[in-house]
Amino acid sequence: MAANKKIEFGEETLALCHKLMKRYPEGKQKSALIPILHLAQAEFDGWLSPEVMEYVASILKIQAIEAFEVASFYSMFNLKPVGKCQLEICRTSSCWLMGAEDVVRHLEKRLGIKEGETTPDGMFTIKTVECLGSCGTAPMMQVGADYYENLTLEKVDQLLDTMKSSGKRKSYTDVAETRPL
């Protein structure tokens, strides 16, 4: 992001914010904080800078520190820049039993980075996460809104290729219209 780029939601997102705020009784608009932080993270390059948090706070008419308090508590909010595709590999019990460590090792080898790091081209970040509720389809990883399940190393390679060639950022809020059941 350019240093002096103005931080402001697009018209559509701003309208959505105001719609979200109407879901709560008068005076309880702070309840919209988490949903709006999600929108902000998606719109402003995948992370929440202090300026972005200040902007979100101004929409909700709360102190910036209140936005920071919340953003720093929840694991889905990034307080530092991350790759366009954040590869989140579940590592808890069932996923570990089914080979999650092999997936992480494979990603590290293939991308030449360690867990927690981002590739020099800014495309991928490897992150290990705790149980994502996909235990019956382990091992799995989440990238943006998408769950990739029953992973094999071949499948992981294909996914990396697809993501790399598209070059697009994957956000939690980008939900595909239909997901095969």
Binding site: S31, Y74, A138
Partner: protein
């Protein structure tokens, strides 16, 4: 297969849409409740059904509902706990993704019983795509007159919203969930006051799990007495079990409470046996928080009776020889599994997820993770095993919320039932090399 009440139509094409769901008898409970019942009689039916909270605690739902304070002129709320984060549990995700209208229907019917004009489904942030599925279902429900003003021409009006979280196990604890819904950090509140008196925005609130709210639909349709006929003893009805780990057929199964554990693990109708025909070593029967049991104790109680999938049978023997039904997160481990390493993944999980409010949990979970890491690294001592025991015993019962217990119990149970494995790691550190160690310990040949 046993009786199905929630997942009867889960494989019907298009069941996630309003029209197919309605064709299959959907929204009948709203009609029945609004046209033929009073809120009081509906609460009575739920009491009669014997339904117990499906999130893990197993508290009688009807009783929880009857505690809801009703001061005049004060809003009341129903909040659905869809934060499903207990390792090993994925049943709510399955239900919401497949049959979103079942939850929406349950929300409307339950809200009528509680006199709630608004309700919120708090769903974990990682399930963002499921939240969109629910929002679509809610939109369809509005369009067809099941939500909004004067539903079915009655005085009852209701609005239902989906609220998204952002990744925090602790928000599955009901007061932390309410904090999060209010736009704050998910720090559990000190109780009392309980949410039934002062919950969301200080108003009386009922928080129920997804599966609990969905179960209200068949209870209203069939009547509480008919529901109570299903199941065994005080474990009435059906339960969704999330089966994972080393089994041939992982997935979500709806079963009538009282099914023998052995049948559940080995029958082709359910888990289909252990992968590769291997031997069963241990099971975590109700999500990561409940005590792990070795094969002999999960299949039979200490008295030698067959263990059943019910609150009472799984709990038989207390924590010495028993466990809990919990959330129904059923993790199966074969004879190649390192119990120490599995416990390490749990302890790392609880350390990561502790909100940090209470010292015993904040410090203790980190300490346990570090000691387990030390043992797995080959630097453990026998005193470390005793220290683990000591730490867990000093977390239990000393925290604001049950995350303390949830972190302590798996450690206690692993040491109680598999102490020799911990000692082997300590005594023969040269042998530790991931699972190879376990092939040797169990006299197995690597596959």
């Amino acid at each position: 297969m046993g009786k199905k009440l929630l997942l009867e139509h889960d494989h019907v094409p298009g069941i996630n849409t309003y029209s197919v769901y309605r064709e299959k008898g959907g929204y009948a409970s709203v009609e029945k409740a609004l046209k033929t019942m009073t809120p009081e009689s509906l609460v009575e039916e739920v009491k009669k059904s014997g339904l117990r909270g499906r999130g893990g605690a197993g508290f009688p739902t009807g009783l929880k509902w009857s505690f809801l304070a009703k001061p005049p002129g004060v809003e009341r709320y129903l909040v659905c706990n869809a934060d499903e984060s207990e390792p090993g549990t994925f049943k709510d995700r399955y239900l919401m993704e497949r049959i979103p209208h079942l939850l929406v229907e349950g929300m409307i019917t339950s809200s009528f019983a509680l006199g709630a004009k608004s309700s919120y489904i708090y769903i974990r942030g990682e399930y963002y795509y499921v939240a969109k599925i629910l929002e679509k279902a809610i939109e369809e429900a509005y369009a067809n007159g099941w939500l909004g003003k004067n539903i079915l021409g009655t005085d009852f009006s209701h609005d239902c919203y989906v609220q998204i979280g952002a990744g925090a196990y602790i928000c599955g604890e009901e007061t932390a969930l309410l904090e999060s819904l209010e736009g704050k950090r998910g720090n559990p509140r000190i109780k009392p006051p309980f949410p039934a008196v002062a919950g969301l925005w200080g108003c009386p609130t009922v928080v129920n799990n997804v599966e609990t709210i969905a179960a209200v639909v068949p209870i209203v349709n069939q009547g509480g007495d008919a529901y109570a006929q299903i199941g065994i003893g005080k474990s009435t009805g059906t339960k969704l079990i999330s089966a994972s780990g080393h089994i041939n057929k992982p997935g979500v199964y709806e079963l009538e409470l009282g099914l023998p554990v052995e049948e559940f693990i080995y029958s082709d109708a359910y888990c289909g046996g252990i992968r590769g025909g291997r031997k069963l070593k241990a099971v975590v029967a109700g999500g990561s928080s409940v005590p792990i049991l070795p094969a002999e104790l999960i299949l039979k109680t200490a008295k030698g009776e067959p263990r059943l999938m019910s609150y009472e049978s799984l709990g038989d023997g207390g924590f010495i020889t028993g466990t809990m039904l919990g959330s129904g997160g059923f993790i199966v481990m074969d004879d190649t599994t390192s119990i120490v390493k599995n416990l390490y993944t749990f302890s790392r999980f609880y350390h990561h997820e502790s909100c940090g409010q209470c010292s015993p949990c904040r410090e203790g979970t980190g300490w346990m993770e570090k000691i387990l890491h030390k043992i797995l690294d080959g630097h453990g001592t026998l005193a470390d095993v005793d220290l683990l025991w000591d730490i867990q015993s000093k977390i239990e019962g000393k925290t604001i919320c049950p995350l303390g217990e949830a972190a302590a119990w798996p450690v206690a149970a692993a040491i109680r039932h598999f102490r020799s494995e911990f000692e082997d790691y300590v005594k023969n550190p040269g042998n530790i090399q991931d699972v190879k160690h376990y092939y040797r310990l169990n006299n197995l040949q690597p596959a």
